[in-house]
């Protein structure tokens, strides 16, 4: 039994429970025991965290993380990914199934979960594949995946191009109550493209990926969703057209949720600069108008969650011709700082920002945590909103360094991360206990 912990006089922001103010938070037995306006007495043997001037938040939940294990342990492992997560304030991550042995069976799910138990840092929730081998041909065994511990199914990294199969996936998954998470990309429209199609791709002479490659698939899947009464989660929304369709679908009461990545709401296609492969991702960084639309969607609730799409790659995957560069960037250790850029710029209020990192994702996938009411798991992230720091990719806990944000100045930083009442990150150090 761990000692009680008292977080004293921090600004507690707990959007689900409508809390935003100075509170004491008492943790006992890995759960939140009490949240109080008035100062609480220090229980015997308790650890005290002086949190005045800091934010005491529900632990962040990332719905979209690539841990690369099994199969590409040189890029990341469950352990190194969990270190990066807690260093970034995340107490729970959803692990994508597109590993080199695809998570399309209970066996792989169990392997990931056993690695996560061994790492013993944050909660890892595997997502299983929609189709066997992510081939888009036959449904994987959703029932087995869910009973082994998967919280969603997705072929992330690839769209399900076959509309009939997608329709059945949505129908079939209704039996298990898990969301079908989709990477929306019509491959016939995106074929050969290396970045967003627009003035920048024209200037650089790179084949463009039109926004319609995403929007057309969002439209298709919303039509299928309505018909199947299923549950759809749209990953890494990148453009204005998608936002408009999702907003309208929500208004009509469809069970659709959506996420946006920090990079899509911070950068536009101009970040490609002189063929910088660190700005290469799928979906690509879009035009400034799309970035505007995403920011509005974060504010008005069209987007439910900020998710990083943490995608570790080696140096050699990026030090190549732009067209050959592999898609994706790491995101766990920069997510808070980038989100706070919007807050510091007055584009997003702090409470909504916290909601997008906590209750929003928890609710979208039906995960525990994401709030601090008594009885909730004591997954807590302490943030210093004023600390200024500079992103240094060489100091990432992630095994990979592929980020376009190296050297970027940030204001606001994670100072402590607690998972189930245990301190797993503090003072810049991950606290292992294995």
């Amino acid at each position: 039994m761990s000692a009680p912990v008292l977080f004293r006089r921090g600004r507690v922001i707990d959007p689900r429970n409508g809390v935003d103010g100075v509170r004491d938070v008492l943790v006992r037995d890995g759960k939140v025991a009490e949240v109080s306006d008035a100062p609480l007495p220090v229980p015997p043997g308790a650890e005290v965290v002086e949190a005045a001037g800091r934010w005491v938040l529900p632990g962040f939940i990332d719905l979209h993380v690539h841990l690369r294990e099994p199969g590409e342990e040189g890029k990341e492992t469950v352990l190194t990914g969990c270190r990066a997560a807690v260093a970034g304030g995340f107490t729970a991550v959803v692990a994508m199934p597109n590993t080199k042995v695809v998570n399309d069976s209970g066996l792989v799910t169990e392997l990931v979960l056993s690695r996560a138990r061994a790492a013993n840092l944050c909660h890892v929730y595997p997502a299983g594949a929609i189709t066997k081998g992510l081939k888009g041909e036959e449904l994987a065994e959703t029932g087995e995946l869910v009973s082994a511990g998967c919280v969603a199914i997705t072929d992330d990294g690839r769209p399900v191009m076959n509309a009939s199969l997608m329709r059945r996936a949505l129908q079939y998954a209704t039996m298990f109550g898990v969301p079908v998470m989709v990477h929306e990309e019509d491959l016939t429209l995106s074929a050969g493209g290396a970045m967003h199609e627009g003035a920048v791709s024209t200037r650089l002479g790179l084949r463009g990926i039109p926004a319609s490659a995403e929007v057309a698939m969002v439209a298709r899947d919303l039509v299928l969703l309505e018909e199947t009464k299923g549950r759809l989660h749209i990953a890494h929304v990148s453009c204005e057209g998608s936002v408009r369709l999702i907003r309208e679908a929500k208004r009509r009461g469809l069970f659709v949720t959506a996420e946006a990545t920090p990079h899509h709401v911070i950068l536009d296609d101009r970040a490609v600069g002189d063929y910088d492969t660190h700005a290469k991702m799928a979906p690509p960084l879009r035009a400034d108008r799309d970035v505007e639309a995403l920011r509005e969607a974060l504010v008005d609730g069209t987007i439910d969650a900020i998710a990083t799409d943490h995608a570790p790659h080696g140096v050699l995957d990026k030090q190549v011709e732009f067209e050959k560069g592999i898609n994706g960037i790491v995101g766990l250790e920069t997510a808070l700082g980038l989100t706070l850029e919007l807050v510091n710029a007055g584009l997003l209020d702090a409470k909504r920002a916290v909601e997008l990192l906590t209750h929003g994702p928890a609710k979208a996938f039906g995960l525990p945590g994401g709030h601090l009411a008594p009885g909730a798991p004591a997954d807590i992230t302490v943030v210093d909103p004023l600390e200024e720091w500079t992103v240094d990719a060489h100091r990432f806990y992630s095994r990979s360094r592929n980020t376009p944000f190296h050297g970027r100045k940030q204001k606001g930083r994670v100072v402590q991360t607690w998972v189930s009442g245990r301190k797993v990150y503090a003072d810049g150090q991950v606290k292992e206990s294995r």
């Binding site: 920048v200 024209t202 002479g205 790179l206 063929y275 190549v320 732009f322 067209e323």
Partner: protein, 297 residues
Amino acid sequence: MRHLLGIEGWRRDELEAVLDRARSHLPGGPDTTHLLRGKVVANLFFEDSTRTRTSFHMAARGLGAGVLDWSPSGSSTSKGETLLDTARNIEATGPVAIVMRHRSSGAPHLVAKHVRCVVINAGDGTHEHPSQALLDAFTLRQRWGSLDGRTVLIVGDILHSRVARSNLWCLKALGARVIVCGPPTLIPPGLEAMGAEVTHNLDAVLPQADAVMCLRLQLERMGEAFLPSTREYSRLFGLTTAREERMKAGALVMHPGPINRGLELAPAVADGARSVILEQVSNGVAVRRAILEVCTS
């Protein structure tokens, strides 16, 4: 020393300095074989182009340089050597410049970030082909003296054309008005932001042009359904003799070559009085000498 990765970003006076130098490199000019004597220029051609490669080769020799000709056939790229590995190996032989042709847009930019010698882009993917644009501009200056106030019409597959992009930057910088014309499927978005006027109606703009630059139609792309047929392309965008008659008096016809005769250009137009196509080719060496000279000095 300075890389030539593209025309974009070069100022008018800098471009004019290259074009002015090129004049002294024309046949019959002063001896220039001392300029790069004892130096090596590496020709790094990942994509075949006999014309551009030979032109750069002759230019380097004319400046007294040795030429290292490198092409990937049978070499290590097929064994997984990366572009940077190759470039660093070439760099280790100590060239004063790497002249590079590559099928990926931006490949020379990547190499330039990692080597210490000058990198000259001899065509990268569908991005830029700066030496072609300079020799086109040189040819026009020979005829006109100045490009100020002139209208150049670029016709054809703008989307896939590195020549179009480089010429757009170059012609605009030198004071010309540029109109681009082609079917909407071959016109990328955002050209207006680069200073071009865009049209799909060749006949409407043809009488305004002081020069018409026909681009090569890349027949290998026909399978991608950019166009219904070459026949229809020729009917809508081909420079036929009938169209030629409606051009301004004295207006010029250009083509970067190689020509699909009868498709972009009627043979009689390609070989006719307006055509400066052969002058473009012969000016190529002088302009590339000037590029090598200016970039390595």
